[in-house]
């Protein structure tokens, strides 16, 4: 489990990025980390990895401070950054020298993932396109079988078929002993995948709820008379809205609408989910 308690961080003392973040992310879920540009999603992932030191508050991974750089903590965690450089060697060679750090690495699984994603693990990584490199690293990260997989904008650069393969692989990856945290703006790419949504704003965590909790309390789609509308927007299909689900009606979650509702009407959302 990943927990943060009153976590604050700023790159300079004048520029505070994260403010009083208290949340917990449990295994067995795919957590979606959402927020406006510059709100600190990537910074939060870096703090979880122990790369940066919080100004105040704490981060714990299974009760251990990640900044202690204990091997047993780091070997259970992989982050796929939005931008990364891989060495100019083949994925097979890269995996051969990196696998000793991850005790549950499965070479066969990696080759399987590569096949599904359409990546040749025998060619030099610099001869691949940016999207192909990302797929190669995703295949490697999944094959490490770590219990915490952190993804920063994972679908950036992936082609349309690869996005659906990625979703399928990720859905098959998560079990009771594993969790995935996805920080993204491309919510449509991962909408069906997420089962816990975390929305950050300047004040801290605006929303941290499972998708079933959200659908229980909110209704998405066209409104009917008498609905307590929290947010609405005009689309080609007509007015789409987020409203309070008083009738217990089933509706399919629209993360984009939810996000806009949280940003434009945070107090209403906070009141519904009983959060600050």
């Amino acid at each position: 489990m990943i927990t943060t308690k009153s976590l604050s961080f700023g790159y300079t003392s004048a520029q505070q990025v994260l403010n009083n973040i208290t949340l917990s992310m449990e295994r067995g879920h795919i957590h979606g980390l959402l927020g406006c540009n510059g709100i600190g999603k990537t910074t939060l992932l870096k703090l979880i990895c122990g790369i940066m030191r919080p100004r105040s508050g704490e981060v714990r991974i299974d009760g251990i401070d990640p900044m202690m750089r204990r091997k047993e903590t780091l070997s259970e965690l992989i982050i796929i950054p939005e931008e990364f450089d891989l060495p100019n060697i083949s994925l097979e060679r890269y995996a051969a020298v990196t696998a000793p750090f991850y005790p549950r690495f499965d070479r066969g699984a990696m080759l399987g993932y590569c096949e599904e994603l359409g990546v040749n693990p025998r060619v030099r990584l610099h001869s691949l396109s940016m999207g192909q490199r990302k797929k190669a690293y995703i295949a490697f990260a999944l094959a490490c079988n770590v219990s915490m997989l952190l993804l920063d904008e994972p679908t950036n650069g992936l082609d349309i078929p690869s996005k659906s393969v990625f979703r399928r692989l990720l859905a098959g990856y998560v079990d009771e002993s594993r969790m995935v945290v996805i920080s993204t703006h491309q919510v449509a790419d991962v909408e069906q995948l997420l089962d816990n949504i975390i929305i950050l704003n300047e004040q801290g965590v605006m929303l941290n709820a499972t998708t079933s909790e959200i659908c229980e309390r909110l209704k998405f789609g066209r409104t009917v008379e008498g609905d307590k509308v929290i947010y609405s927007e005009r689309t080609i299909q007509g007015d789409m809205a987020v409203s309070v689900n008083e009738s217990g009606e089933d509706s399919s979650l629209s993360i984009e609408l939810l996000f806009n509702a949280t940003v434009t009407n945070p107090h209403a959302i906070a009141a519904i989910f009983n959060q600050k």
Binding site: S75, D85, P87, V97, F101
Partner: protein
């Protein structure tokens, strides 16, 4: 899973050399080709030999940069620092690289460069004899080795301290060294001028020599302290970047 194992150092060394092979290949080629080139154009194996020592010294800057580069580069920083390697293992690898592997590689490449340039020479150069001579007078070997360790540990600190602009860090340290040296020379000159004022002969200056064991201790303490500081910086900086 045990922290700080020899196996961890070996695994990290394997990972590091494989992922950074281009940088190390460049360094090894420099250690071989520059002395060889000088040996051929001057037709003098002694020049090749002298150049190999010079490249060995200047290569320190490249080596310390190579070791820290993955932790500094934007594209590799996050992956490198989330690798399950402890600071102690990383430093263990750096020490192995600085104290054993680099001097050994430089020596082998230098010897190879001298040997390869021999057919182009005017005169004769007995490499083994030269090395043998210096080995007997081991102050030279020891002096070069300790000097390299001081430069290496110093540049390692600069590399660990410099967040972004490495060149500026080197420039600052260069200015500090020059300022320090100038101060020392100026003080020395003042001493000489005073001697002159008192009509003292410069040749009469008595150099007070320190005991050999104290000299060795001082020269060993400098790199040891610097490597110690590097380790502390590595521990702190790794989590602060």
């Amino acid at each position: 899973m045990k922290n700080n194992t020899l196996c961890g150092i070996v695994n990290y060394a394997r990972y590091h050399y494989t992922t950074q092979y281009k940088l190390y290949l460049t360094l090894v080629l420099q250690l071989l080709l520059i002395p060889l080139f000088f040996g051929i154009i001057t037709r003098d194996a002694e020049s090749a030999y002298a150049m190999s020592v010079a490249v060995y010294i200047f290569g320190c800057f490249g080596l310390s940069r190579n070791m820290v580069l993955p932790m500094r580069e934007r594209g590799t920083k996050i992956m490198e620092m989330t690798l399950p390697v402890t600071s102690c293992e990383r430093m263990g690898f750096m020490l192995l690289n600085c104290i054993v592997l680099y001097p050994l590689t430089a020596f082998v490449m230098g010897a190879l460069a001298v040997t390869l340039s021999t057919p182009f020479n005017h005169g004769e150069f007995d490499l083994l004899g030269q090395i043998g001579e210096m080995a007997v007078d081991n102050y030279f070997f020891y002096g070069i080795y300790i000097f390299i360790q001081i430069v290496l540990s110093g540049t390692l600190i600069i590399n660990l301290l410099a967040r972004r602009n490495l060149i500026v860090s080197y420039l600052i340290s260069f200015v500090v060294v020059v300022a320090f040296a100038t101060l020392v020379i100026r003080l020395g000159l003042e001493v000489l001028i005073r001697f002159d004022e008192y009509n003292e002969n410069i040749e009469n200056i008595v150099f007070v020599s320190i005991p050999q064991w104290l000299g060795i201790l001082i020269y060993v303490l400098i790199p040891t302290t610097m490597y110690g500081v590097s380790y502390l910086l590595l521990r702190k900086r790794q989590v602060k970047w």
